[in-house]
Amino acid sequence: MTLAPETLAPRTTDLKVQLRLADGWFTACDLDVLSPGRGVAALLPDGGQVALFRGRDGKLYAIDNRDPFTGAAVLSRGLTGTHRGRPFVASPLLKQRFDLATGACLDDEAVRVTTYEVKTATYEVKAATHEVKAG
């Protein structure tokens, strides 16, 4: 992590959450709209939806927002938790749990949701010089 001296302490409002899509990093939202334990949904350029979460340790996660069991785009509205050390979100509809890091459904091993690589970055500045890795 290298930071220019004048931006040594970037305010959290300056931090953006980015996810890696097929064609590069996509800025989804400000970091400070993500409160620990609660997700938000973001719209992707292709019309898809992603659910973003932040753990109480500051780690960020991004998974497909669509609940594969019902088809509704609601995973961002589920409750998060820790199960045997793994972070998960429970669907608010029928309560199936999904591992936030791998997308695997903890209650049905045949089911998995897409996950995205996610990081924070200071806004409008080249990621190469002012990147702050999540976690």
């Binding site: 973001a42 088809g71 050390g85 608010p92």
Partner: protein
């Protein structure tokens, strides 16, 4: 139907008959025999012992003890309303009233008994009843309602007191006339009778003992106006119930030449076989047992049923006599007698404790060697279960200490652990302590309901359930079975324990609680979907008392809430929400109805009237919620908390104001209660209702707390439930004033919130709680734990700090920002949320799961239709759709 299969014919389908059928099934006899049942009453077997509970809310269906599906599965042919009229023993055929003739190999008579009506003049007059069947009860109820204000019961025994209680429950001025010098002469002695008398008179019933009924006086219309008593006095009454004992119904047996006793009863041997005919058995109240007695209690009847079934199966089994122990709650007074209650054994001694002021009377009969022989308990039968089980043995502590109340002298707490294994704990089903221990150790039962199911203990009269609970706990501890009662993988404590921790340490943060009190491995983690909302609810319930914010979306609390609480609306299957404004008591002015209609129309919401007397608007997207609330709040509405584990509605009937039957203003009371308890977070949702009279149109007895008006106040029922496991609520207290009612509900709700498990409705809580309803009554009515002051102050803190969550949210820009479908496109609606027309409204257009997410570009109608609702609310396509719907409707109506 003719067949070579041997046939068993059962005549009579009462409790004992039903038990006999179950015993046949258990022994596999239903597989090898054709079983035909002839039943006189129009309904299958029901719980006659609890007949009176019909008046405190049980329906005839609740009283049923018959599992029709089970009978069906076993091929039992049950003919109700078709009694046997004759038996041809020669040809081995029974003829029923309908003309049905059934041949038998084995005939079992379980015809029960009939009420004895003393041969006094006027006994058949209009207004005279007996108290035996549900039909009798319905007739008494009807007559009491339309033609009587005073009622008299002839007979002060067990059934007589039950009947008198029923009359009082129907609002009649009630008298009891007993020939013997005391009440319940068979069960209790003079001292017990005196204690009982004082208590019952204290309830407003008039008791006349030592007098006989000489004549029923009638008016010109032939209806009862009074009765002449043997002391020369006359008692004015509009209704008479004869409850002066029962006699065996043995006419059918007499007619076919079976031997009967001098004072009635079909004479049987120890196998319950009639002494006259080896093909015929008699069981229950119609049988004169081998010991020369006719047993009028259900437990010996069950034993006879088992004996008869065993004999038919060729198994061992005999009935030589039975214990006449009983424990009853008559008119709310505990009365129990067991063993040699009257001390008839030679050389026996009495130990008596009597407290007239408290209406307590306890007597133990003890042999010279210290053997407990029997006893009588009036006013407090708490120790019955343990004492009865010790009967016949020398208790490990002195008998005096067993009857003294706690606090007097050195009270002995004699736990059931001291019982020998062969002690009978459940006398209804003859289940020993050993069998109960076996259920835990061999059948891996860990809870009282499991043990009940496994052993049947506690499923009869229920008087042993308390002992059962103690035994199960003791056995689990003894066998080292680790029962993890922890809330979830994060907390080893129960919800109740967490509640106490939060309250005592004033913990307002989930993280704090988890990091300090969570399981080792869970500390520092996120918690889980089980404990987060549970702790969120505890903090919200206690908010004003522990210094937390009462607003569930504040700070960390927001992250703990289930999605419904988080969005203050109910998530529906397509990701949209439904909105339910509070309509207290179901009362709503036309202007407000119009506002709801307008909002639903403007936002294109599907509307439906709920079961709780309010209106649910479905299909709101998350970003529409604040706009909808703003309009509702503006019109004077507030959140209905349909999304919360909290008070939902207090339903009401229209009550005295309009209804010609109403006796109190049920609507006002419902509104008062709903406004008092609105927003109260609890372990599960809370439903309530207030009915303006005993007709119960508001269905209060299916609610967590239900209120029914009486002529002099309110009756409070608790622990009712509808849904998948319906349960009628239990009567907690009667004839309460407005203030008494509110105070009791305050205490009840706070006690529930304090002690219930997560997602445990009041009905299951009441069943699980050791001591059940009696314990709850002790705590909230009699303040046995001394916590009522605290419960009340917790509730008043809640009431004082209530704020409408919707109003609070729409006035908070930071919270409002959360109400968007997409954090990076706040104006874009969720394209997955779509609708199609159904009838004249909308329904979710659900995505096909195997196709995956449908994009707006593939289906323009869906997102365009509700486009711009923030602004104009009247997108063209929205209008088009509405026009389509109207056309559809018109077309439909012309077709109709």
């Amino acid at each position: 139907m003719t067949t070579d299969t041997p046939t068993i014919v059962l005549v009579g389908h009462g409790m004992v008959g039903q038990r006999f059928l179950e015993a046949l099934a258990e022994r596999g006899l239903t597989g090898t025999h054709r079983v035909v049942v002839l039943c006189e009453e129009p309904r299958p077997a029901y719980d006659r012992v609890r007949l009176t509970s019909y008046f405190s809310g049980k329906t005839p269906e609740d009283l049923s003890v018959t599992d029709l599906a089970l009978l069906d599965a076993h091929g039992v042919e049950l003919h109700v309303g078709d009694p046997a009229v004759s038996v041809d023993r020669e040809a081995r055929k029974v003829t029923a009233r309908s003309g049905l003739v059934v041949g038998y190999d084995v005939l079992v008579l379980a015809t029960g008994s009939y009420p004895f009506v003393p041969p006094v003049p006027g006994k058949d007059a209009e207004g005279c009843f007996v108290y035996r069947t549900i039909e009798d009860l319905l007739a008494i109820e009807e007559y009491a309602r339309t033609r009587a204000s005073t009622g008299a019961v002839v007979g002060g025994g067990l059934l007589g007191l039950e009947a008198a209680g029923a009359l009082q429950g129907l609002g009649l001025t009630s008298h009891i006339v007993e020939f013997a010098p005391r009440l319940m002469p068979v069960q209790v002695d003079e001292g017990g009778g005196a204690a009982l008398l004082r208590t019952i008179e204290g309830m407003g019933l008039s008791v006349h003992t030592g007098v006989g009924t000489q004549e029923i006086v009638t008016g010109d219309d032939g209806a009862v106006t009074g009765m002449k008593l043997s002391d020369g006095s006359e008692l004015a009454t509009d209704l008479v119930v004869f409850s002066a004992g029962v006699r065996p119904r043995d006419q059918l047996a007499r007619d076919c030449g079976l031997a009967v006793g001098e004072r009635g009863g079909i004479t049987v041997d120890e196998r319950c076989r009639t002494v006259t005919d080896p093909h015929v058995f008699a069981i229950g109240e119609c049988a004169l047992a081998a010991d020369g007695r006719v047993y009028g209690l259900v437990a010996p009847g069950y034993e006879q049923a088992e004996t008869a079934a065993a004999t038919i199966a060729g198994d061992e089994g005999s009935f030589t006599g039975a214990d006449l122990s009983t424990k009853l709650k008559l008119l709310g007074v505990d009365v129990a007698s067991f063993g040699d209650a009257h001390g008839t054994a030679e050389d026996c001694l009495d130990v008596v404790y009597s407290d007239s002021r408290a209406g307590l009377y306890k007597k133990l009969v003890v042999g010279r060697d210290g053997t407990l022989l029997g006893g009588i308990l009036v006013g407090d039968a708490e120790a019955y279960g343990t004492l009865r089980a010790f009967t016949g043995s020398v208790p490990p502590v002195s008998p005096e200490s067993l009857v003294l109340p706690a606090g007097a002298g050195a009270p002995a707490q004699l736990g059931p652990a001291a019982l020998p294994d062969d002690a009978v704990v459940c006398s209804c089903h003859n289940v020993t302590k050993g069998a109960i221990r076996g259920a835990v150790t061999e059948h891996s039962c860990t809870t009282v309901p499991e043990v009940k199911k496994c052993t049947r203990a506690g499923t009869g009269c229920g008087s042993c359930v308390k002992v059962l609970g103690q035994l199960v706990t003791a056995e689990l501890e003894a066998s080292g079975v680790e029962v993890d009662k922890g809330l979830c993988g994060c907390f080893a404590q129960t919800r109740e324990e967490l509640y106490e921790i939060v309250l005592a340490l004033r913990i307002t943060s989930f993280r704090d609680l988890l990091d300090r009190h969570g399981r080792e491995g869970a500390r520092g983690g996120e918690g889980c979907e089980v404990c987060k909302p549970a702790v969120g609810s505890i903090i919200a319930s206690l908010a004003p008392s522990i210094g937390a914010s009462g607003y569930v979306l504040d700070g960390e609390q927001a992250a703990l809430q289930d999605t419904n609480d988080h969005f203050l609306a109910n998530l529906q299957r397509n990701g949209s929400y439904s909105v339910v404004p509070r309509i207290p008591g179901g009362e709503i002015a036309p202007e407000k109805l119009i506002v709801i209609g307008e909002i639903a129309r403007d936002f294109g919401l599907y509307t439906k009237i709920t079961g709780g007397q309010r209106i649910d608007m479905f299909g709101a997207r998350v970003e529409q919620l604040p706009v909808i609330w703003a309009r509702l709040v503006d019109a004077g509405f507030e959140s209905g908390h349909a999304y919360g584990k909290s008070l939902r509605t207090v339903k009401s009937c229209v009550g005295q104001t309009w209804c010609r039957y109403g006796v109190q203003d049920s609507v006002r009371m419902a509104i008062d209660l709903e406004l008092r308890y609105r927003g109260l977070r609890s372990p599960h949702k809370l439903k309530s209702a207030v009915s303006g009279c005993a007709r119960e149109c508001a269905e209060a007895q299916s609610k967590d707390f239900g209120v029914i008006a009486t002529a002099s106040g309110w009756n409070l029922y608790v622990g009712g439930n509808g849904g998948a496991t319906p349960r009628h609520a239990d009567l907690l207290a009667q004839d309460l004033s407005d203030a008494e009612l509110v105070r009791l509900i305050d205490r009840f709700l706070m006690f529930y919130i304090r002690t219930a498990d997560r997602l445990e409705r009041t009905s299951t809580w009441l069943e699980r709680l050791p001591g059940g309803l009696d314990h709850v009554r002790d705590v909230v009515v009699h303040d046995s734990l001394g916590i009522c002051g605290e419960l009340e102050s917790l509730m008043s803190a809640h009431v004082a700090h209530y704020r409408d969550e919707w109003a609070e949210t729409i006035n908070d820009p930071e919270k409002l920002a959360r109400f968007v479908s997409f954090v990076n496109a706040p104006d874009t609606p969720d394209p997955v949320v779509g609708f199609v027309p159904e009838r004249d409204q909308l329904k979710p257009d659900l995505p096909l799961l195997d196709i995956g997410l449908r994009r707006p570009s593939e289906d323009g109608r869906r997102d365009d239709r509700r486009d711009g609702l923030h602004g104009g609310l009247h997108g063209d396509l929205q209008d088009d759709l509405r026009d389509d719907l109207r056309d559809d409707l018109l077309e439909g109506s012309t077709r109709r």
